[in-house]
Amino acid sequence: MIYRRFFGFPTVRAKNPFEELDRLRRHLDRWYDNVGTPAQRLHAGVFPLINITEDKDSYYVSAELPGVKSDDLDIQATAANLAISGERKIAAEAEGARYHRREREAGKFSRLVELPDEIDPDKVEAKLQNGILTVIVSKAEIAKPRQIAISS
């Protein structure tokens, strides 16, 4: 949609049919470079968007889920995967309500996150605070870094 608005179809026919395509590609490349932060350019395209951080012992997976109740969330962990699914419900408002804006979306979601190392599915904690879900996943003992003593 936005492409068409930015780069309307050419009215003058180019001599070389590929010239026009090249020009379009250059435009798009530039557009991709300029639009959005690095994070926005690289994501899996599955709701919810997540951030993963790690420290020595655990992974921290966080997602923004405003308005989702903990009862409507389902989190499952296996040896290397974390599945986050649920439903976001938006209650129907009183009859006769006339909308000026309707940007918030309701619906189901389901996402599978593969963690880089083995995890301990028994030690997974999840909390939902102010609409942000944080899942703390303990790394499996075998995946934790170990200090190696050097014998002299």
Binding site: A39, G67, R101, R104
Partner: protein, 136 residues
Amino acid sequence: MADEQSKDIKVREKQEVTGPAEQTTPGLVFTPAVDIFETEKEITLLADMPGVKADDLNIDLRENILTLTGDVAPSEETNAEPLLVEYEYGRYYRQFTLSQVIDQDRIDAQLNEGVLRLTLPKVEKAAPRKIAVATG
């Protein structure tokens, strides 16, 4: 409605503010997604502001301009190394012009699970009164 509820949510990136308001604090600023609807008595605004605590939320109604500002505290695990960053933190900012006169004393704001619900009651219009003319 049931059909609508069961559909899957599509990914929507957070929209960065590109407004005229200049920022004096560093950091990103995002536009929260909102629902606004109005009934005969009031205007209700729902805004998604995940990560904003009630203390960090600022609602300002001056003249006809309603301004929402929400600050998001950075995450607690500061020692943790980022592996994947799909969304970013930042403040929320959005401004609306209201065409109705609002009863400022009865404004109600609630923040639950990262969703702000703001109720703006309209000022009741003066009921038309018939004035009897006394003759005498």
